[in-house]
Amino acid sequence: MEGRNLQIRRLSWMSSILLFAVIVLANIVFARSATRIDLTEEGVYTLTDGSKRILAGLEDPAIIKVFWQGIPARFDNTKRYVEALLDEMENAASDERFQVQWVDMEEEEGKSAASELGVEQYVFGAAHGSEVRESKGYMSLTIELGNEKPAIFNALSLIEDQLEYLIVATIYQRSRTERPVIGMVAPRPQFNPFMGGRRPQGQFNDFGETMRKAFGNAARDYLTLDQPIEPDVEVLILTRPRALTETQVYHFEQFLLRGGRGILLLDPVDIDNVFGAASQRAEPHLSGMEDWLSHVGVTAERGVVGDFEATCLFPKGGREAVRYPFWPKVLPDFMDRENPVTRNLAPMPMYWPAALSVDEKKQTAEGRTATVLATTSDSGYRRGDITALKDTAEDASGKLLERVPLIVMVEGPLKSLWLGKPVPGSEPEKPADGEGGSEDGEGSGDGAPAAGSPDGDAPADPPKSDEPKKDDAPEGGEPKEAPKADEPKKDPGKDEPKQDGSDGDGDADAKEDEESGPARLEDGEIKLLVVGDAELICDQLGPRFPFSRAINGVTGFSFVANAAEWMSGSDDLLALRARATNPRNLEQMEDKDRDLVKNLNLYLIPLLVLLAGMTVFIVRRS
């Protein structure tokens, strides 16, 4: 009997060990399987149809190299997502046109490949016993397609939400035979040896980087308005213009008149007015475009816009954050859902934006349409005074609460502001508006921060003279003749601007072009997007600022990239953008309502459960 029991026990243990082995084996076998169900409403972890369509149409092979090594397990979800996403993409592309290579980083070859490509190591804190030390690892991927330099995406955990878009957009842009050229006029980044960082210190570096990744070589940043914009540029993003000269405004206008599309990010009140040197002055920055904008029928009103309902949070130090009315959040309900640019846009933060007003009569009289694409909520208001913007508490009493326009699209015919006048730059000029370039250290021709400017982190070049350059003065400095009304003009969307005064002598025209740039146009069809804020794409409040990334969101980047894409005539990528994760903010509540919610949750269910227990107890006793 004892022997039989022993045998049974032995069998029992053996079967347990066998079962354990089977289970381990099954788990190992399925470890590479990526069968999963995505329960999220927006299908965040599933490839969109737009991505599938673009990948299925790939003609040249795209090689994705993943560099992953030395990254702690807490990033395992990111790794899994990257694996699953790339697997799905591989399946969506036909004939191995999408190749994924996980680089073996244990080998020296892998490390040297990373170094050659410029893949950055990710720095993180890792526990070593009881202390936390800084460690480095690889968490990047590169995309190689065609002969262009590989696109690199570092710190994948930070861009996990947008990874699908970034990969597909890069592939899409690089595989396009005809690429729209997107230009950007923004303050130049500057290397500052005293700041210690390796990265150039600038204001719109990250957005420029985003555009370069999305549009590849077709993205040209740091263009200047000192000269006419190159004719192949289709969309121009003019960021935070400061005290532009008449010549610069003229070049921008001419760019629009010849069919270029413009995105104008005004920023009369910026972080400098709140925390920097300009806070003492209590005056908004002038763009130098005020007269021209008024001519177009759009005005950036003096002051800032606040919102009592839809606002972003403002960090107060420690773990505290408060709602800040001057960082309004544009909610989907207050966006034009008919326009492709804003149709699928998630709530978007804006920082100290300016109110835009549209002169409807002027627009109608001149045959243009001006569409308001985004406003504040119904609790928006204008505040003319820009002092004490640090104060987070605002009183709604006495304020006119209304929807305040923040983004406007203007389309239609426009006659040049300089119609019948000499071309600016043909004689020495002053800044177009009152704010002189040297008055506050701003207003360099390309928008670069000048000496003493709070925008710059380094001593900048001496302020540039606003004197016209020789190249700017057509016909040897003499005012050009404007084309006559019945002379042919460039069709919007065509690459080559037509010349005025053409006599059919192509060679002579070409020679003249070389000498003096594109000829002057006196009217044309314009398409201009005016935004009352530029900080929605600035570095300080962009993805590198954890508070923006985690709490307020960085939808501004998507919005401007969407707009550039759409204005260039393509909306393929907008379908991908559609799935930008919605930050899903809470509705604003009074403190007493919050307390009620907290207390109800804390006490209600426990009390009900205990009551149920007592009822059972009483029933049983009775």
Partner: protein, 240 residues
């Protein structure tokens, strides 16, 4: 099936008449609400997001490590201590039915506890546009997490006649299985293995709203293995 249901009914009746499950459920629901809404570290209202992962499902794991051993500790220990185990194992009921009945009853009680926290996501959805996908995923993950830990806890309970020993051992095992994830955060050669073995890494993936076959397989096989061990342990008693 009838045998399983008979055992299940007996266990559920025992839960219903005891005050302990009510107290445990009330403490669990209140504790979760407190951590979610009141804990300044989680700062639900500061983050201002209608989402549950950061403040709820991440915390839930630690509450479950305590809840599950409380529910599992008495399953067999009580029987051993009260001398009823001999009667049980000599009944004309298969051991697997006994184990399954106890396991399902424990799981039902855990489910009730999880449901009691359901008022939190309902509240959040009233305050903002909550994506229910990750909530469903998180609860499903929590349920599987509990099933795995409960299977382990019931087996531990079958090894000892003392509830407190069973509780401490299961709690310790739970802490190790979850803590492995933190250990795996230290990069090193064992990190990938620890990470794969950890209950935490499989559970946390579900909280994002993605149900991965690998995670489900891990939890199911983990639970199945310990239920099997439990059956074997009780079977061995029969032949003692």
């Amino acid at each position: 099936m009838g045998e399983i249901f008979a055992v299940y009914r007996k266990e559920m009746r025992a839960y219903l008449v005891s005050p302990i499950p009510y107290i445990v459920t009330a403490l669990f629901a209140g504790g979760m609400a407190w951590r979610f809404f009141f804990d300044p570290d989680k700062a639900f209202f500061v983050y201002d997001k209608a989402e549950m992962y950061r403040g709820f499902f991440f915390e839930l794991e630690y509450f479950l490590i305590i809840l599950v051993p409380v529910i599992a500790m008495g399953q067999w220990s009580n029987e051993s201590n009260g001398g009823t185990i001999e009667t049980l194992v000599t009944l004309p009921v298969r051991t697997s039915s006994l184990v399954a009945g106890k396991f399902l009853a424990g799981l039902t009680l855990i489910l009730v506890c999880l449901l009691a926290t359901g008022v939190i996501p309902v509240t959040v959805s009233n305050m903002g546009d909550l994506d229910w996908g990750p909530v469903h995923g998180g609860y499903f993950g929590a349920f599987l997490f509990c099933a795995a830990l409960l299977a382990l806890g019931i087996w531990v309970s079958s090894l000892t006649r003392y509830q407190i020993v069973s509780f401490v051992l299961t709690l310790f095992a739970g802490l190790v299985l979850v803590g492995m994830y933190d250990l795996a955060n230290e990069t090193g050669p064992l990190a990938p293995i620890l990470e794969q073995l950890s209950l935490s890494s499989h559970y946390q993936a579900m909280g994002r709203g993605v149900i991965d076959l690998r995670d489900v397989l891990y939890f199911v096989s983990f639970a199945a293995f310990f239920l099997y061990l439990n059956v074997q342990t009780i079977e061995n008693r029969r032949y003692r």
